[in-house]
Amino acid sequence: MSLNLRQKQTECIARMLNLNQPINASSTTANEEVYKILIYDRFCQNILSPLIHVKDLRKHGVTLYFLIDKDRNPVHDVPAVYFVQPTPNNINRILSDASRSLYHSFHLNFSTSIPRPLLENLASGTLASDSIQRISKVHDQYLEFITLEDNLFSLADKSCFVQLNDPSAGDREIEGIVEKVVNGLFCVLATLAIVPIIRCPRGGPAEMVASALDQRLRDHLLSKNNLFSEAGNFVSSFQRPVLCIFDRNFELAVAIQHDFRYRPLVHDVLGLRLNRLNVQGEKGGMRSYELDSSDPFWAANGSLEFPAVAEEIETQLNKYKKDVDEVNKRTGGTHGAEFDGTDLIGNTKHLMNAVNSLPELTERKQVIDKHTNIATTLLSEIKQRALNNYVKTENAMMRGTLEWKDLLGVLKGPGTKMDKLRFAILYLISSETINQSEVDTVEAALRESEVDTAAFQYVKKIKALNASFASANSASRSNIVDWAEKLYGQSISAVTAGVKNLLSGDKQLALARAVEALIEGRPNPEIDSYLIFDPRAPKSGSGTSSSHLKGPFKEAIVFMIGGGNYVEYCSLQELSQQQQPPKHIIYGATELLTGVDFVEQLTVLGQKMGLGNVASTSSAQ
């Protein structure tokens, strides 16, 4: 049973649109409440948009759909389905709608569990306005996450990395953030209806999130109608997946580097958001494209490098032209050939086949056009910014085979300010020891190009901190753990370890390696120190590491706190294909960040630490 998150979420939403009654496919009697109006707020709009199109809404009987904040007019004798977050603002809107009797009945669905005080607020409000009879049902949907692909999700939690690593953040704020992340993860697990085994590296936000999630799952399983009772039969560990939680500081390089594969490239350069892309079309207008698993080209070639993608477009185009020519030849459309009497029946059949295949051909042409457009835009950007140069030198840098003059050449060459900043930060991360003179030269080159070096300073400071306690007593694990617990998010003690592994020639990310080790379950020095949580096991047994909990898993859910990106997603998918037998890996993050977004967050952190570049205030932002 492979976990398909997108399908499960779509099913839940379909059920919700059916007024939370089980969808009876063969019911032919006209349901009294078959036409409904859907009302959502901004967050839930983001949840719905990658999953359902407007025309699909009509199949479920939704005639109109509105944002909750818009002024709406009454539509009598129609039930309204609300799908909103449980915030006081939304509750007030619902109360005002109910008091104005905008719709006949209200079916309230909250994207996550509505807290008790808000529920009481709602109750007293409706009682006061005497509109109790309007409220039909109240449901908790546990759908507060955005699924982009079958196995990719995001919690849309903005600036999580900044908040977690903020030096001025207090305990309460950190706990609040952890609570939000745990809530999102709980929704994901509730939708999949599984209770996984949780593993995470020691220290930092990962451990906090893991233990909080474990606690929440335990409490929930003890309550009487828990959401996981269906999965109660699957007690054996190899039916349960493993949930690996990581923190962004585990591997910073991936979030920053330039990558040349199609999916990360489109995300980074053109700004893919919620599977939608806005590109400048040939005729000069802005075209909006949708890129998800229903696009066959995107699904098949998302992980290819860019030159291969261009070739693939060519081949597809040639095949299409050949098919069109064949169709034209068969039906004599091109030259108006005379019809042979005996061949008439054959011609009719060909004509019918041609007419039937026309829609398919037009669709193929549209897909090819779309990707040609995207590829041309990408190509112009790549040429302008010399991105292929960046990718090449970054790879060489990661492997340690970079020449010093090449590095300086890249810094002085073409590329946006962000590209150069990213390159410089990668240099910092990849170099084992800090050679002060080199760093100064790099910094000077950055300042020449008028780049705001706050992020650079931040990483330099962190690395210095790291080096200071790494050199003190790197062998003793407990020392590092103490330090790590003190500086909540600032423990990138694994960075040097991760980078060392990168230098071992293989292009595999440290994350992929850790996940592979966790799935296989063989003893591995890298992951042996990882904590294990099993929400189903009794409390006393959680300390001991029972062997079955470490055993090989068939499925894994990997979660990155602080921001993930398509590079990690592609690498994890490659990993899952390489396994024997192919395993299933779902990847999620608090949000999906491009390299530029992430460096901006680092800049904010640098500024908070007071490391901003005073001289270049004019060029900043």
Partner: protein, 324 residues
Amino acid sequence: MARARDRTEDFKDAVRHSARSLGYDEAKLASVMASFIIHKPPQRSPFSKAALKTLESIGELEEFLSKHRKDYMDLHRTTEKERDSIEHEVSVFVKTCQEQIDVLKNSINQEEETSKGWLGITTSKANADTIAHKHGVVLILSEKLHSVSAQFDKLRAVRFQEAINRAMPRRKLNRLTKKDSIETPKSDDVELGEPSELHNEPLRVQQQLLDDETRALQVELSNLLDTVQETETKMVEMSALNHLVSTHVLQQAQQIEHLYEQAVEATKNVELGNKELSQAIQRNSSSRTFLILFLFLNVHRETRTRNLFIEYGETMPFELLLIG
């Protein structure tokens, strides 16, 4: 499948709680709680009643189709006539449903017009959202009808295909059998000819003549049969193609109508624009002449006054000169 959590009970508890805190007495509390259990049946507007009825009839159509699908598809269960009758019934049904949907659409448009007619003051019944909702309902109904009729069209296409297939081998078979049948009489003739040669000559000649005639007739008739069958297959093909093209045209008919109306509007707008342009040009030219006239008059007046001064400059008293 994952379950959602029903919090209605919690909500009811919260209601009970706050009712008590607000000081509701028992009777009021009971009525409030009762409103949860007993829902007032919604007052349906005539529009929604009609819409629900149409939905029901489309549902019935679907049921009818699914019941008779096997009868229709299987070659040996029904005769051609029964299949035709099924087709006829289905098309009548589809037409009635389409009419009902059209009636609904007209009622929306009527309502829109009457509400606009009152100097733009819309009544509470007909506001933008309700109208949009009604359009949505009509759209859903028509989409459903389309999907059902598309299902039926697919079945019909399969039936045509089979008809064509049946026609083709039959033709080939007939050709072969015809050839055989033409061959055998000839051989019979030769055999018959020999024994009767010694018998009556004139009878034989007459017989031969008759035989020739019958043979000629036979050949003619078989040719006719051939052509008739060819036309038959051609007719079947044509009807299949016709049907195919008509479904596509129907699909696009609405869009084509829409485009046509837009084109008409566009031409009207362009005409209006032309009129405005010509008016503007006219005004421009007239204003230009006016301006020139005005300037000319001014200049003329100035020159005149100056001439006046030049003329009377010597005789005019000094003070008046200064005033000019």
